[in-house]
């Protein structure tokens, strides 16, 4: 990807006595769709507000195209924000909402007109120019909020959980639209969400955050397949996380069972976290697998059944298209490359 557009260097932020961001180092490239992912209170929104200029870092620096952003007020930054609750101007109609930024830049009315119409077309709301904000549905307000931001042709579009208030169907549609829009416009998107599925669907890069620190930065597939620690594994998708001991390279012991794996580089007998995705576990007849257990519950999930299998007290979460009756004895098989070994965090 292109050059670094935004660069965070050792950024910390404290509110009163609470550390919200702890030593953040991060770069955002041109034309990148970067998602800040984490539970509420992890500092992802604060990070976004620092880029927008609504918050100043307590220490550290943020550079934009190589120039320090410190002290540059929000209204002079080449970024625009789509707010969580849209924050449209209730006293203006759709047209004037979108034209707000253009009027401030003192563009001619003809230029404003053509830009507003083009962007309304882009968000599929042609003909809505004179509608009042109160007469729009949540999804339409969302599109207007996006239109109001991108009409200014920002270098970076910041999106603060923009889809959180929409229902599932609408949200999935908007995810694809946003991704297409980002490709078409060729601008950088920085997207904040707590929804891992949303992050996996749209992003080029995902930044997983926890309590003000970055846990992992990577492509969606890397984050999903190679989570760096148990926290990331747990946050991105469902997983089974078990303590284990690394006997030697490529052999891990969990629940007194030796399992072959593909990880190397651990000290002998180091204690580790073992992460196994529920869809990577195969259910076999009782005598065929290494780990044995009893089916405790079965839930139909559409494509697959979600089963909980009790094995000497540990509850395995397993996804399988075949159904096993509750109470039946089974055994479990995991292929070596589906076993992910992580250092204890």
């Amino acid at each position: 990807m292109g050059k670094h557009l935004i660069e965070f260097k050792n950024v910390c932020k404290t509110f009163d006595d609470t550390e919200v961001l702890k030593n953040i180092n991060l770069h955002i490239d041109e034309n990148e769709f970067l998602t800040l992912l984490g539970p509420s209170g992890c500092g992802k929104s604060t990070l976004l507000r620092i880029i927008a200029g609504f918050e100043e870092p307590t220490s550290g620096s943020v550079c934009f195209e190589g120039a320090d952003l410190c002290g540059v007020p929000a209204y002079e930054r080449k970024v625009n924000t789509v707010f969580q609750r849209y924050a449209l101007f209730p006293h203006l109609d759709v047209y004037d909402n979108i034209a707000f930024g253009l009027h401030i830049k003192k563009l001619g009315s003809k230029e404003i007109d053509s830009k507003v119409r083009r962007v309304l077309e882009l968000v599929n709301l042609k003909g809505f120019e004179r509608r009042t904000i109160g007469s729009l549905s949540g999804g339409q307000q969302q599109r207007i909020a996006i239109a109001r931001a991108i009409v200014n042709e920002p270098k970076v579009l910041l999106l603060d959980e923009p889809l959180a208030a929409l229902d599932l169907k609408l949200r999935q549609g908007m995810q694809l639209e946003l991704k297409n829009m980002q490709r078409e416009l060729g601008i950088t998107f920085v997207y904040v969400t707590h929804d891992q599925e949303e992050a996996l669907t749209m992003s080029d890069t995902i930044v997983v955050m926890k309590e003000g620190t970055i846990q992992q930065i990577g492509k969606p597939t890397d984050i999903y397949n190679e989570p760096k620690n148990a926290y990331v594994a747990d946050f991105i998708g469902e997983s089974n996380i078990i303590s284990g001991i690394m006997k030697h390279d490529c052999l891990v012991n969990i629940m007194d069972t030796d399992l072959e794996c593909v990880d190397t580089g651990f000290a002998p007998d180091e204690s580790v976290d073992v992460v196994i995705r529920p869809e990577d576990i195969y259910i076999l007849d009782p005598d065929k697998g290494k780990i044995t257990g009893v089916v405790e519950s079965v839930t139909f999930k559409g494509v697959h059944y979600e089963m909980v299998i009790d094995s000497n007290g540990f509850k395995w979460l397993v996804h399988d298209t075949a159904k096993y009756e509750v109470g039946s004895d089974v055994s479990l098989l995991v292929k070596p490359f589906d076993i992910h070994i992580m250092k204890k965090s």
Binding site: E76, L88, I104
Partner: protein, 281 residues
């Protein structure tokens, strides 16, 4: 049935103190009583009003009420804005509001005459204001018993009614709307003129109605601050009702003032309608 019975006291109250007086005012306004005590229909009470002297009094009253509204906005809006800004910041941090608004509300709990006499000690020729001015070596100001004093008194008495509605609108403006304006390139001045002021107009409009009408009809303030020499429509009505033969004219004046008040309310309503979207907010 029980619920209906409960409303009877209110009905009696309304008839006794609203409908009956209104009826009497209309009766007096359109009649004269001759020496024999018989009533006869006439429009002369209204015709009398169109003498230049009375027109001038109405004009003066409107002018003073208008000036008072203007000064209430000029002084009240910034006050409301400053208090609202502080309170918003504190509320955003999870603290209680400052209570500065109480400073403007508290004087209203005191007796009005007491408050007006306090002004007398300030404004009279050898009062607090002039002692202070002479201490600074400045020339004396003689504003007691002038129109300036009447406007001052009116503004003083009614400014809480301007500050409160503006404050209550300002405090409710969503922070993210202000941030959105900054995000779109508006500096502080622009944010104010393009977002905060338009969004607070409903508060200003209700402030205007709450100040203009009482200011137009009040008589005690002008009576006190002008020493009775400066006649406003409120004073004129009061004087006519104190005099037994004047009540017909006084009633006619009351009706004229009522019509005037209705008209100005209506103008405000039309003005407010153009801000409908804000009401929804």
């Amino acid at each position: 049935m029980f619920k209906k019975t409960l409303s009877y006291p209110h009905l009696v109250w309304m008839v006794l103190f609203v409908i009956a007086p209104m009826f009497l005012i209309f009766l007096y306004a359109f009649t004269v009583t001759d020496d024999g005590g018989t009533l006869s229909f006439t429009l002369e009470n209204f015709a009398k009003f169109f003498e230049p002297m009375y027109i001038k009094i109405l004009f003066n009253s409107v002018w003073i009420a208008f000036l008072s509204v203007v000064f209430c906005i000029i002084l009240g809006y910034p006050a409301a804005k400053i208090i609202a800004d502080r309170d918003r910041r504190r509320i955003a941090m999870g603290k209680k509001a400052t209570g500065l608004l109480m400073l403007f509300v508290m004087p209203m709990w005191m007796n009005v005459m007491l408050r007006l006499y306090a002004w007398l000690t300030i404004l009279q020729p050898d009062g607090v204001l002039n002692s202070f001015l002479s201490l600074l070596g400045l020339p004396k100001l003689d504003i007691m018993y002038t129109q300036t004093a009447v406007v001052l008194g009116t503004v003083y008495d009614f400014i809480p009614f301007m500050i409160m509605p503006i404050y209550s609108v300002l405090i409710k403006i969503d922070d993210s709307v202000i941030e959105a304006a900054q995000d779109l390139g508006a500096n502080k001045t622009r944010v104010f003129w393009k977002v905060i002021l338009p969004l607070s107009m409903p508060g200003v409009v209700s402030g205007i109605t709450m100040v203009f009408l009482p200011a137009l009809t009040s008589f005690y303030i002008s009576d006190f601050f002008s020493g009775g020499q400066f006649m406003l429509i409120g004073n004129l009505i009061e004087k006519n009702f104190k005099n037994p033969v004047g009540r017909n004219f006084g009633s006619a004046l009351s009706i004229i003032l009522m019509i005037f008040a209705f008209l100005s309310m209506h103008v405000m309503k039309i003005f407010n309608k153009s801000n409908r979207q804000m009401d929804m907010y």
